[in-house]
Symmetry: C2
């Protein structure tokens, strides 16, 4: 990689992202200007400005960057910038939690921040209502920033960094291919953030109408639209009534759809959703699973009637979109429902959504290529291009989806093994913690189930899970290449 | 498929395979000529002769097959013949268990037979020593036949079925590519069975020297060389002393190697093993894991000294080669060791061995293509052929290994979900039963662990697991194509 260039862009992204800490600072000031919390935010902002500007100044002195250098950002630089930006933003973002004393251990604070930015929602906190509002607001805001993307935000706000911006955008955008909605990446980034902002605004209004305070409405909107999962209550959404839960169900569903489709639909083409095969599968999963889940909950006496349907609906959407909000402890559900939820954890949301997981379209392409190999075994000489949306998919795309699937399973197994080593976790806890972090969901089963949290995990375990969360959010490559020596060479 | 041709070949295979029942009949006659067991074998042989010959006669009358038709066996026919032969041989092979009253339920008898032929070793029997010797001999003999392959055996014995034989051979041979050792497939099949026979003979002698009776030595040899796992004792190999266990360790290891390498080594080139990258990985896994396992068993007090090393060695080799013999209840081992064994279950033996699983080389190629995609993400324009044994692997081979990996994981997840539906199994039991059957291992964890068995599983569950065992043994395609309508068309 072109190290000075990478450091330059990372420093700019760090500066932009840390400005977001002014919002929780505002809440802290409203609450109590003299509190330790207020000071923590002020210090954190100062530290990040100092680190970012010093980096830029030193760089300017020794390796001046010309504006045309930005055009030369290659695949390697793009991925490295994204990976390193997310890591540095997480290190700085953890400061308010640590400095305010809300989370006394820096490892825990880092874990919570990574969990926030990656929209995982795995938490180490209990007794959440006792925490100061600025801290809770920051915790939820990290979700919202990470959901649509720190880089996408920076690209939208920063003075032009030229053609290199597309590299950054596509390295962070969820899904196998990054579509440009507008002629320039800057415009695309702005458009996506506008759609995201608009939907968030609507959800906030609905939640306030449903009875939440402005503070709670904002925090839960951040958690929903980013498919994050941090709540301001220990009981998560179980602390609120059915109306609120239905609102969250609808907006989780929307957050799991491609924002490119939302944009087109808002432009007056609402049928655009149904022309997407990925959306039809995503919707189909809900349509099939909700009755099955409700039926089984009713038959096994775990919950009947409207309440059962609501819990089924909520948990299926929450897990499939990788949000991780809970209305009930699904660890108590029958094994069939639990294993189905685990399978959904691997699938995740649609490409171009804020959801995690492997993405519906990738799983679809990978499975389709698997099934196609059955046909190929009996008809070896027939050429059958794999189609999505009735269009043939390039061979390289299919190979990449397969490679992604294999790497994902490998990281999942690695995570499971590591959890048994670092924490002696039982198998269900180990594998559900691994997939819940890799797919950015949050709650798993067993000791990391809906009624438990991640506080008990050892520091080594937390660092490893943080790595899994980052790898999962950035679709593996932006993080994994940092371990490849070739990536560090120029 | 060319149905008359397929039925013709399947009927021949059935006739050849059912002749093997003469051996257990011999044991039954030696024991007690008038027993129900003896009659069961006589009836079973008669039934299979009747079914096979009637099939052939009716066929000859209506759709005469000319000898050159055999040359026209295509990929579709070859796979169908292999799939249907294994299914029919299993249906017939279950008769002695059922007719003798040893296993009163036909579902159970079928499960046990499929488990035998596929070299899985999952059993529904307890109090094994009380069963008549003919039954136990047949149970173990199914392992031995299935290990090197029913079709390979038939090809070696049957009057020439021409060039079509290669289709059958390659459809049954374990591993992604079927190598021919001799100019003709018939010779290759004979050679492989000779090597297999020779190694089996040597093991039998060693086991007798170690103190087993001829009967026990034969049964355990069948279980070892086929990487099966049926024992004549409830306690499996724990019922025997360390010497016997070391003999079994060595021969399990050999059974998990490619028999093509054994043949070359026996021809006076013992270094041929180390020129195979797959063998080096297979050996490397043992070399790394045995000290780690022994160390952990010693540290956690689960077993120290030579005993711990022996248990570690035995269980690692038994699981990696997918044999499934046990010397200790590894369900009581620490979680790290249990999850490591589960990972080994997916890997399995080498291509061209009698072991199950995905095969070392396939997992290696799949993972390598996954890791290669990391490099490709930073160097999109560099062509890097994937190499095995220092030779570039064709792109189609890599794509197939990926597709195989995806299908395997899919079937594994499907099996896990089905087990929770049919039997309400807990998650650990469900996923370990699924992989233990798909990879042809036998014992899993939880309720199908080393100290338990499969008797408690519902009939639906047993039929589904039988399907998984067959799919796993025949490397998916020969079974899966039977569900594809296009395969049944001519």
């Amino acid at each position: 990689m072109h190290l000075p260039l990478v450091i330059n862009v990372v420093a700019r992204i760090l500066l932009v992202a840390s400005m977001a800490m002014f919002w929780p600072l505002l809440w802290a000031l409203l609450e109590d200007p003299g509190s330790r919390e207020t000071r923590a935010f002020v210090f954190s902002i100062l530290i990040s400005i100092a680190v970012g500007s010093c980096g830029l100044l030193i760089l300017r002195k020794f390796w001046p960057i010309r504006s045309r250098d930005y055009d030369a950002i290659g695949a390697k630089d793009g991925l490295s910038i994204v990976g390193l930006s997310w890591i540095s933003v997480s290190f700085v973002g953890a400061l308010p939690f640590f400095l305010s004393g809300a989370i006394p251990s820096y490892t825990d604070a880092f874990f919570e921040t990574v969990s926030g930015f990656t929209t995982t929602g795995a938490t180490v906190l209990t007794g959440i209502r006792a925490f100061p509002p600025g801290i809770l607001f920051w915790r939820s805001l990290t979700h919202w920033m990470g959901g649509m993307g720190i880089i996408v935000l920076t690209v939208a706000l920063l003075p032009a960094i030229g053609r290199g911006a597309y590299r950054l955008y596509s390295a962070e955008a969820p899904g196998p291919s990054a579509e440009r909605l507008q002629p320039t990446v800057k415009e695309t980034a702005k458009t996506l953030w506008s759609v995201y902002f608009l939907l968030s605004l609507i959800e906030t209004l609905f939640l306030i109408l449903g009875g939440m305070t402005l503070f709670e409405a904002l925090c839960h909107t951040f958690g929903t639209m980013a498919t994050g999962g941090f709540s301001t209550r220990d009981a998560s959404l179980a602390a609120f009534g059915p109306n609120i839960q239905w609102v969250v169900i609808i907006f989780m569903f929307l957050a799991g759809c491609s924002f490119i489709l939302h944009f087109r639909a808002l432009r007056g083409k609402p049928l655009v959703y149904f022309r997407s095969e990925e959306f039809r599968i995503y919707l189909g999963l809900m349509v099939v699973l909700v009755p099955v889940f409700s039926g089984i909950l009713w038959l096994t006496g775990a919950g009947g009637g409207w309440e059962g349907i609501r819990h089924a609906c909520f948990q299926i959407i929450s897990i499939l979109t990788t949000t991780g909000f809970t209305t009930t402890d699904f660890d108590l559900w029958p094994p069939f429902l639990k294993i189905s939820l685990i399978v959904l954890m691997f699938i995740g949301g649609c490409a171009g959504s804020t959801g995690g997981g492997m993405k519906v379209v990738r799983v679809y392409v990978a499975l389709k290529s698997g099934f196609k190999s059955i046909i190929r075994s009996i008809l070896p000489n027939v050429v059958m291009p794999l189609k999505v949306d009735s269009k043939p998919v390039p061979e390289a795309y299919v190979v990449n989806a397969g490679a992604y699937f294999i790497l994902y399973i490998f990281l999942f197994l690695l995570g499971t093994v590591v959890m048994t080593i670092t924490d002696g976790a039982d198998l269900v806890t180990a594998f559900s913690a691994s997939v819940a972090c890799l797919s950015n969901i949050g709650p798993g089963l067993g000791d990391v189930g809906a009624s438990r949290n991640y506080a008990w995990i050892s520091p080594e375990g937390k660092w490893f899970l943080s790595f899994l969360m980052l790898a999962g959010r950035l679709e593996l490559y932006a993080i994994l290449i940092l371990f490849v020596p070739a990536a560090w060479r120029r």
